[in-house]
């Protein structure tokens, strides 16, 4: 596998790393584009994307990771002017389209799989819904909708959680103020808004008609909207996914998969999904 630094987009403003499989390229395999998460640079949170990219490139898939305009090593967009400071990172500046164009030129025969965490997952869906070149989407901590079983599990867990009862009592007692206590560790920014369920269902149906494959992975940090495997399929029981939707739940992992054991499990899951879905059986 070789890694190459690339620049693309208007005036070469976007900076990326292209992981090219070493073996003779299997032109049937799609390329993978890893979309930035939040305001992180292309290595991904805790270097997560580097590990994923190297593992899936080793499995034969070419991978492009890149920085959105105004983040990491990319220049601000010459079209919209200015960087992204103060705005939420998304595909609004056409960043993903430039990456798609670049990879499609590099590998004109195959489609593209988009992978993203958090806001990157949101961007992956939005682009996949409108771009025919997308053959797969891997969302990490992306969309999720609560179901009856979610609420049941949620309620039972809380009823039997001693710590929550202790917290309820503590909140009733006078308490010494702490300067740092309660400050959000990851900041209080919402990086994307969950789309309306009905609109999403329509987009998913359209994607299923195009045979787009989906891998939805959730960490334990999505517990406010996802708490059991296959919940996404249950929430969209009116969408015929066939065998195209795969879900996996990593309840021990945090949002950025900050522990190496969680990163390893996640990376293996993504690589095996890509191989199962897109590598033709020999």
């Amino acid at each position: 596998m070789t890694e190459r630094a690339v620049r693309f987009g208007p005036a070469g403003a976007l900076s990326g790393i292209y992981h090219c499989p070493e073996k003779a390229a299997d032109l049937a395999l799609p390329g993978v584009i890893i979309l930035p998460a939040g305001i992180d640079q292309k290595v991904g949170p805790t270097r997560l994307y580097v590990g994923i990219a190297r593992a899936i490139a080793a499995a034969g898939f070419p991978v492009l990771r890149f920085d959105y305009f105004g983040l990491g090593e990319s220049h601000p967009s010459p079209v919209t002017g200015g960087g992204r400071a103060g705005s939420l990172p998304s595909d609004q500046g056409g960043d993903v389209d430039f990456a798609l164009d670049w990879l499609s030129r590099e590998r004109p025969q195959a489609g593209v799989v988009l992978l993203g965490l958090c806001s990157g997952a949101h961007d992956a869906h939005r682009v996949a819904a409108r771009d025919q070149r997308i053959v797969g989407v891997c969302q990490l901590d992306g969309y999720g909708y609560r179901t009856g079983r979610y609420w049941l599990q949620y309620t039972v867990e809380r009823l039997f959680d001693r710590r929550r009862w202790v917290n309820v009592i503590r909140r009733k007692l006078p308490r010494k103020a702490s300067v740092e206590d309660g400050d959000p560790v990851t900041g209080d920014v919402d990086f994307f808004t969950m789309p309306a369920k009905r609109a999403l269902a329509a987009e998913l149906r359209a994607m299923m008609s195009r045979d787009v494959r989906l891998l939805y992975l959730f960490s334990g940090q999505t517990s406010n909207y996802y708490n059991y495997e296959r919940q996404f399929a249950a929430a969209f029981s009116d969408v015929d996914f066939g065998q195209r939707l795969t879900e996996a739940f990593f309840p021990e992992a945090d949002h950025t998969f900050s522990r190496s054991v969680d990163r390893r499990k996640l990376t293996a899951r993504v690589a095996s999904w890509l191989t199962n879905e897109f590598r033709p059986a020999s």
């Binding site: 890694e3 190459r4 630094a5 620049r7 900076s15 790393i17 305001i39 992180d40 640079q41 292309k42 290595v43 949170p45 805790t46 270097r47 580097v50 590990g51 983040l71 990491g72 090593e73 959680d161 001693r162 710590r163 740092e180 400050d183 959000p184 560790v185 990851t186 900041g187 960490s219 334990g220 940090q221 517990s223 309840p251 021990e252 945090d254 949002h255 950025t256 900050s258 522990r259 190496s260």
Partner: protein, 264 residues
């Protein structure tokens, strides 16, 4: 701006920022040595902005990732202190060769300052000046802070785990999402940014500090004897604060001062 892989077996990732076409003034070459772990993530864009600002002052700049960090080759577990020092020397050599400039300047940010000074202490040939930007002067102290932040960060994220797995992580080899092998921990803990080392290097020294209270007074007093150019930068990031863990270093308000420091 050009990104590329260089060094032994093309294992290091670097980005070269050439002087801007319209730039005037004395030509300089600057190597930027960044920090490690979570601080690498938090300061990445700011170091890029610093490099870009320097190019407007007719300066060649090289930023790079140490082996087994960032975009460079290697897994986190392969990161090694001696290799970090060697990587600084490799990057220096690349910059000197590419720009044909005999004299280069080095900017060390946070633990990057510790690495740069230790890397170049024995071989300051061609080194014109060193800028220490919020330097870590005591590796052991820096590591203690990383451990404390990690324990607090994991304690706070426990609410997302099952009850049986809830605890604040201590005595681990992972800190804030980054693995530090035992030998690397040991090496960092035993490293100091000695003023006597800087004095022996006999190079111009400048110091950019966001929060002087984070530096030991004795060290600052000793540094004063070297008569460095000193400037106080806007305190946009508190490195030892759990509240600031998710925040990026914002350097823009301090950029003009910082550039002046580097090129002083």
């Amino acid at each position: 701006m050009r990104s590329f892989f260089f060094g032994p077996e093309q294992s290091l990732y670097g980005t070269y920022h050439p002087p801007r076409e319209a730039a005037t003034g004395l030509e300089h070459a600057v190597l930027i040595c960044g920090s490690l772990g979570a601080e690498y993530m938090r300061s990445y864009r700011s170091l890029w902005q610093c490099a870009e600002a320097l190019t407007a002052r007719n300066t060649h700049v090289l930023r790079f990732d140490y082996f087994a960090t960032g975009e460079s080759a290697g897994r986190q577990s392969e990161a090694d202190w001696m290799r970090c020092l060697q990587d600084v020397r490799t990057a220096c050599a690349w910059l000197q060769s590419e720009t044909a400039m005999n004299q280069i300047r080095v900017v060390g940010h946070r633990i990057g300052a510790l690495i740069a000074v230790n890397a170049l202490a024995d071989q300051p040939v061609g080194l014109d000046a060193v800028t220490l930007w919020d330097p870590v002067v005591d590796g052991s102290q820096w590591f203690d802070v990383q451990q404390t932040l990690h324990a607090e960060s994991t304690r706070r994220s426990n609410r997302f785990r099952s009850r049986t797995r809830q605890y604040a992580e201590r005595d681990t080899d992972e800190f804030l999402g980054f693995h530090f092998a035992d030998h690397l921990v040991k090496a960092i803990k035993s490293s100091r940014l000695d003023v006597s080392t800087l004095a022996a290097m006999d190079v111009r020294c400048s110091l950019g500090v966001s929060d002087p209270s984070e530096l030991p007074e004795a060290w600052l007093d000793a540094m004063a004897r070297l008569q460095p150019t000193v400037d106080e930068l806007k305190p946009e990031s508190r490195w030892a604060s759990i509240s600031d863990m998710g925040r990026r270093l914002i350097v823009r308000p301090s950029l003009p001062k910082l550039v002046d420091l580097v090129l002083a």
